[in-house]
């Protein structure tokens, strides 16, 4: 029960997981005999091994007819495999002190494992991971249970202003693009999912050639090679994931106002943003730090919170994806001041896009982004996430090493130019949940 001053810090960090690295992070990369791409950092500081196995099996690979299949497939991977029940799997990992996790987003589905590096624990935990990935059972009874739990969660979400605004935002921003499928899931669509849907999705997307394996920790290159074979060589064979279409840009402003009883209005503004590999990546990224990514020193926080006391949290971020991920500004404010807060945000954005940052602001941004670079790689779990991103999006192996140089090269003119070309304040998507007057 802790109250924090800066709730949005975690959002900022999440949005820029994309970023930086340690000059000279020694990433070893190879393709395993199974076809999987492997990214490995050998590090013996702690007796721990972290592994993440990633597939292009996120929600954008769903179809509208069977929306929700991708998420449910990933969820059931850990709930029945090789004849083991969900309880048996949970207990075996617990007995080893191993921690199983995973990530799921529009592009990517993954399973993650953290284990002690001692031989008994490590080999047993990896064997379990190998079974989950390669011998999933998708038990019908477990599927029915998880469907009921998912539906319950969706029904609750439908009452919460934050969830309502997020769903409306995704729908308005992405329309018929596959990135809209993430929030197209309904209780009705979940109820229709069958075991066959999951099996077919698994066979199609959890393939050897789609696998990206990230590893860091207390093991040798030879052990990492063996590990990779173990967790991938019995995966289905198949084609690469379906390529995504480009995200169409809105030609007119879209504004949706959804009434809600809450004390605060939840406001989201956005526009299609950047791709993971994008010529404007660093200009927009550094620029956004100045606009709304830099916490207390950002323009949005200064104008909306510090000067006027209208919000607890206001932020902006670019979430770079395979295709253009969202550029989003978010805030919550007392319902009576909805209009005032919205106009301050719009003015702040418009001014930034029109005039760009000052050179003093740019220097401050560079000082922070380059000076704090080491903080981005100060734990194995952070490095693991970077390895996954680099591997999954096929970024250069030197991407982390080059980061500081890229940030330092950004100019005021580049930021101004990139924002002017890429962000259109007059064509934004705006969602207001709460006071709609």
């Amino acid at each position: 029960m802790v109250a924090t001053k800066k709730s949005f810090l975690s959002i900022v960090i999440f949005a820029f997981i994309t970023t930086a690295a340690h000059a000279g992070l020694p990433i070893q990369h190879w393709q395993s005999t199974s076809g999987a791409q492997v990214y490995f950092v050998e590090n013996h500081d702690l007796p721990i091994v972290d592994v993440s196995v990633n597939f292009a099996a996120g929600s954008s690979q769903d179809t509208l007819e069977k929306v929700g299949t991708a998420a449910m497939t990933q969820r059931l991977l850990t709930l029945g495999a090789g004849g083991m029940t969900d309880d048996e799997i949970s207990n075996k990992f617990a007995d080893l002190g191993a921690v199983l996790g995973g990530d799921f987003d529009v592009d990517r589905a993954s399973l993650k494992l953290r284990t002690l590096s001692s031989e008994r624990e490590k080999s047993a935990a990896l064997q379990l991971l190998a079974t989950l990935l390669q011998k999933p059972d998708f038990p019908v009874k477990v599927l029915e249970r998880e469907k009921a739990r998912t539906i319950s969660g969706l029904q609750e979400d439908a009452t919460l202003p934050e969830s309502i605004s997020n769903r409306a935002f995704t729908a308005a921003l992405y329309g018929s693009h596959p990135y809209a499928l993430e929030d197209a899931i309904t209780p009705e669509s979940v109820a229709k999912l069958t075991r066959d849907d999951l099996v077919a999705f698994y066979q199609r997307y959890y393939t050897r050639n789609n696998a990206v394996v990230a590893i860091i920790g207390d093991l040798t290159r030879a052990q990492a090679e063996q590990l990779t074979d173990q967790v991938t060589e019995q995966l289905p064979q198949g084609q690469a994931a379906t390529a995504l279409p480009a995200v169409p840009l809105p030609q007119v402003a879209v504004e949706r106002r959804i009434p809600h009883h809450a004390a605060q209005s939840h406001i989201l503004l956005g526009y299609p943003g950047i791709k993971r590999i994008d010529p404007d990546y660093f200009a927009l990224y550094v620029g956004n730090y100045i606009l709304g990514g830099g916490g207390f020193v950002s323009r949005l926080t200064e104008e909306v919170r510090e000067k006027r006391g209208l919000v607890y949290s206001v932020y902006s971020y670019f979430a770079p994806l395979r295709e253009a991920g969202p550029f989003q500004i978010g805030l919550q404010t007392k319902r009576e001041q909805t209009g005032q807060a919205l106009s301050v945000v719009r003015d702040t954005l418009k001014k930034f896009v029109t005039d760009g940052p000052t050179s003093k602001e740019l220097k401050a941004a560079k000082d922070n982004l380059t000076g704090g670079f080491a903080l981005r790689l100060d734990s194995n779990s952070k490095v693991l996430d970077y390895l996954s991103v680099i591997g999954f999006y096929d970024l250069p192996l030197t991407w982390l090493d080059d980061y500081v140089g890229h940030v330092n090269k950004v100019t005021v003119a580049q930021i101004k130019d990139a924002f002017a070309r890429r962000i259109k304040p007059d064509n934004m998507v705006t969602i207001i949940v709460g006071n709609t007057e």
Partner: protein
């Protein structure tokens, strides 16, 4: 290492102790305690300043003032006016934040290691020289009200948690929310915040925790340079405000717009007093048996087997300045009433009390504890948090070293014994969310306004 410490003792009259897990401590002449843990894996450092002042130290009418002061601490000093603190930390590549809890208020920076001095310079300055103006206060109190709306008022389960605590603890300050009641926030003044600051913000009421790629001697010298010049002051006597014994079950219903009901129930439980205590360790193991992994009793039986719940969890925290709770919370599945779910949870508790736990369950929890003790070393921040939390609740970081070992000694009989002793009906409080239809056309009314 030992030789160095002798030198330090000589130079600064520090009381310094070295320990096996590379933790070092000293206390400056003005009472500021400094604890340093070396972690040389990355060229970074985390510095946390822990003030032993949280909502437990508040009185009715000014609830939330500890947290309001935390916000005001970013509003500047004569040397570094409003906004400068954050700008300087940002320019150094740092991340910063602060948080307030029931027991303490914490300010921290994460930085590249060469920037540690900046953190100390700024923190030491605002420990003594905060300029808390009514103009800044008037703006910031609006931000805090927004925070309360966001954190609690618009979240039905958070309202349940708030009401649960105020029902379980009717006298002890833990019954009041950390963020404060809205009416108290609305009526708070700049003077309330200044009083709080002058009462509690002093080197002799603080602990500095530093973890990272540093040498303790450097940290101690920097601390002495920046914090050493600050004057201690006399702290008020802290009244215990002990909760009278609960004599019977307490129940409360919270009505709020929502879809699913929600249940939060808990028992009064002992707080860790010192290493002679075994009961808190047994209760920690009990938590693991109930909710340590996805196949522990609660999830296995209620979510997976009976399908009466969509979520269920158990929690207990043995480190507090005040009384602890052993809590359960759960969301019933479609077709199960919240009353039936409560019966099911109480059934699990009865089974525990009557039949105890198996050796297999115990070993499983212990294996997870041993591994977690290794995994936590991957986060400098969390290591600093553990040290600071113990130091700020009347204990020592040395209790950490003991913790894992002590958990390993817990027996099945001890787990059963604490279940029987503490999970008893007369010490139970139950809070239930009774979902109300969502009427979009009826804006919720805030509590009656004071000043605003």
């Amino acid at each position: 290492m030992h030789r160095f410490i002798t030198a330090l003792l000589f130079l600064f009259s520090f009381q310094t102790v070295a320990a096996e897990n590379q933790i070092h401590e000293t206390t400056l002449a003005n009472g500021l305690k400094v604890v340093v843990q070396e972690d040389h894996r990355s060229p970074v450092v985390v510095a946390q300043v822990w003030y032993r002042a949280g909502s437990i130290d508040e009185y009715n009418g000014t609830t939330g003032v500890a947290h309001v002061l935390e916000h005001m601490m970013f509003k500047g000093t004569r040397q570094f006016p409003a906004g400068q603190f954050s700008r300087m930390v940002a320019a150094a590549g740092g991340k910063e934040n602060a948080f307030t809890s029931r027991d303490y208020t914490v300010y921290f920076q994460q930085l590249e290691k060469s920037k540690l001095a900046l953190s100390m310079k700024l923190e030491a300055d605002r420990m003594a020289n905060l300029q808390l103006t009514d103009a800044e206060f008037a703006k910031e109190i609006q931000v805090v009200m927004e925070e309360r709306r966001w954190r609690t008022d618009d979240k039905p389960q958070a309202l349940v948690a708030e009401q649960y605590m105020s029902t379980a603890l009717q006298v002890h300050p833990y019954g009041r929310p950390v963020i404060g009641w809205m009416n108290d926030i609305q009526n708070m003044t700049g003077q309330d915040a200044r009083n709080w600051y002058h009462t509690w913000y002093a080197p002799n009421n603080a602990t500095l925790v530093v973890v990272g790629d540093v040498k303790p001697e450097q940290v101690f010298a920097l601390a002495n340079k920046y914090y050493g010049v600050l004057k201690p002051h006399k702290l008020p006597v802290r009244k215990p405000q002990v909760e009278p014994e609960q004599k019977g079950e307490r129940r409360i219903t919270v009505q709020a717009p929502a879809k699913n009901p929600y249940l939060l129930m808990g028992y009064i439980a002992p707080t860790f007093k010192g290493s002679a205590d075994w009961e808190p360790y047994a209760l920690e193991i009990l938590t693991g048996v109930l909710d340590g992994n996805a196949a522990s009793r609660l999830n296995r039986n209620l979510v997976r087997r009976d399908r009466s719940a969509v979520e269920v969890s158990a929690g207990y925290d043995m480190i507090n300045r005040g009384p602890s709770q052993f809590e359960f919370d759960a969301t019933p599945s479609e077709g199960t009433s919240v009353a039936d779910l409560e019966i099911a949870i109480r059934g699990e508790i009865e089974t525990l009390k009557n039949e105890g736990v198996t050796e297999e369950e115990l070993q499983r929890v212990k294996a997870q504890v041993i591994a977690a003790d290794v995994y936590k070393r991957d986060s400098m921040f969390n290591q600093a948090m553990e040290i600071g939390q113990l130091e700020s609740t009347g204990h020592s970081w040395r209790d950490l070293a003991d913790y894992t070992k002590r958990l390993q000694t817990v027996t099945p009989e001890q787990v059963q014994a604490v279940a029987r002793k503490y999970l008893v009906d007369e010490h139970l409080t139950v809070a239930i969310l009774d979902p109300q239809p969502i009427d979009e056309n009826a804006p919720k009314k805030e509590a009656p306004h004071g000043r605003h």
